[in-house]
Subunit: 212 residues, 2 copies
DNA sequence: TTCGTAGTGTGAAAACGTTAACAGTGTTAT
DNA sequence: ATAACACTGTTAACGTTTTCACACTACGAA
């Protein structure tokens, strides 16, 4: 299969989201320069990115929104449904599940793990919370492939090791630690303080303007 | 002043964080290849990035951790203290403030805004919550330069417009919308579903392994 | 039908980011 | 002292990403 860079994937996800809004608005078709204006990528880049997904627009009419969305989704999520688990079901964990669940029909955060007895065996935002000790069983039983880490710093590495041992292939890491994992595990770090520091820097050191 | 790319700034922030851990561990000095092993950047890249901050290591001893940290911090945060406000003080907003405040001595999230009367005028995690209507006064009085957006989708653009009108220069956007703002405003988007979608993709389409 | 228009798809050039390689230099051992 | 060593700083080569520019094409108007 065609090898695609992180940047391209990120942009495809942005395009798809915009298309979804347009569709909800009742629009039928769209031009690359319109997608460009909204997403910040150049029109040429939009067209080039779309080459990867193998959908062709037509010259004067542009792209059919519904068909393009389908093509992007087939490109991004081949599997029927990708199972996701979240570890750490505090304020942050809950808000993640609350926002994500139900918004992508092929992604489902179906299990949460926590150590707090008050949360264990309760269902919050449609997500059953289990004890950390049940992690291995549940993950293997449900074929969970992706995990979200929302635990305190001191627990993060240990939990990550366990997740990797359970066969997890990707981690979305909201804990403020860089995880040490085998090279075949994909990790996306979302440290909030680091994000804030970055914004603070560019707020004071005006940047080209172009959005990443 | 030297113009530095987003990637370099992101990596400098990662290096600084690692240095902080080393310092807490009681270490005195460090080599570029050690920083490399931890952060995923190559050793040459670490050295090249550090050229930007204008601190020089010494051949056999490497870099003095404390001095290097100071140099990076002076590079990243020139101002004495950068004031930050957060809009939306729900689960997500609270967990952001809880984690960030007190961890970078030059960044302070000192004001929160919300519409919920139960939160207004309370102090949570050292952060005073005001009514949205007070936004302009508070932001201008306190010279707030950076805002974190943690409001529902439907409110995000309106709030962003208001923040821009108040003179905010950078926005860390956790709302699931792409904000339309003037080119001189720096926006960092942190849509959680998009992050998850990206991880799901690369979990199923093994990537080079190199960490970004 | 024919033409003009306004879009797409894409090869080639330019810009940007990364890696390699090595000269230069404190430090340590002899 | 001197030599061997183990690192840094930096230049030049390399690779990747972005933009440019243009041939091509469906459509609508006359």
């Amino acid at each position: 299969m065609k090898q695609v860079s992180e940047k391209v994937v990120s942009r495809l996800i942005i395009y798809r989201k915009y298309l979804k809004e347009l569709l909800a608005d009742g629009q039928k078709s769209i031009f690359s320069h319109k997608i460009s204006a909204y997403t910040g990528a150049s029109a040429a880049q939009v067209r080039r990115d779309l080459m990867n997904v193998g959908y062709n627009g037509t010259p004067v009419k542009g792209y059919n929104i519904k068909d393009l969305m389908t093509s992007i989704s087939e490109f991004l999520e081949k599997e029927n449904t990708i199972e996701v688990a979240i570890v750490g079901f505090g304020n942050l964990g809950k808000s993640i599940v609350d926002y994500c669940n139900g918004r992508n029909s092929r992604l489902s955060i179906s299990a949460a793990f926590d150590t707090d007895p008050n949360k264990i065996n309760r269902v919050i935002h449609g997500c059953h919370c289990y004890a950390n000790t049940e992690m291995e069983t549940i993950i293997k039983e449900n074929k969970v492939e992706v995990a979200i880490l929302a635990v305190p710093r001191e627990d993060a590495q240990k939990v990550a090791d366990k997740l990797v041992a359970c066969g997890i292939k990707g981690i979305l890491n909201y804990s403020p630690t860089r995880l040490q994992v085998p090279a075949n595990i994909y990790v996306e770090n979302r440290d909030m303080l680091m994000a804030l520091e970055k914004v603070a820097y560019f707020a004071n050191n005006v940047h080209g303007g172009k959005n990443k």
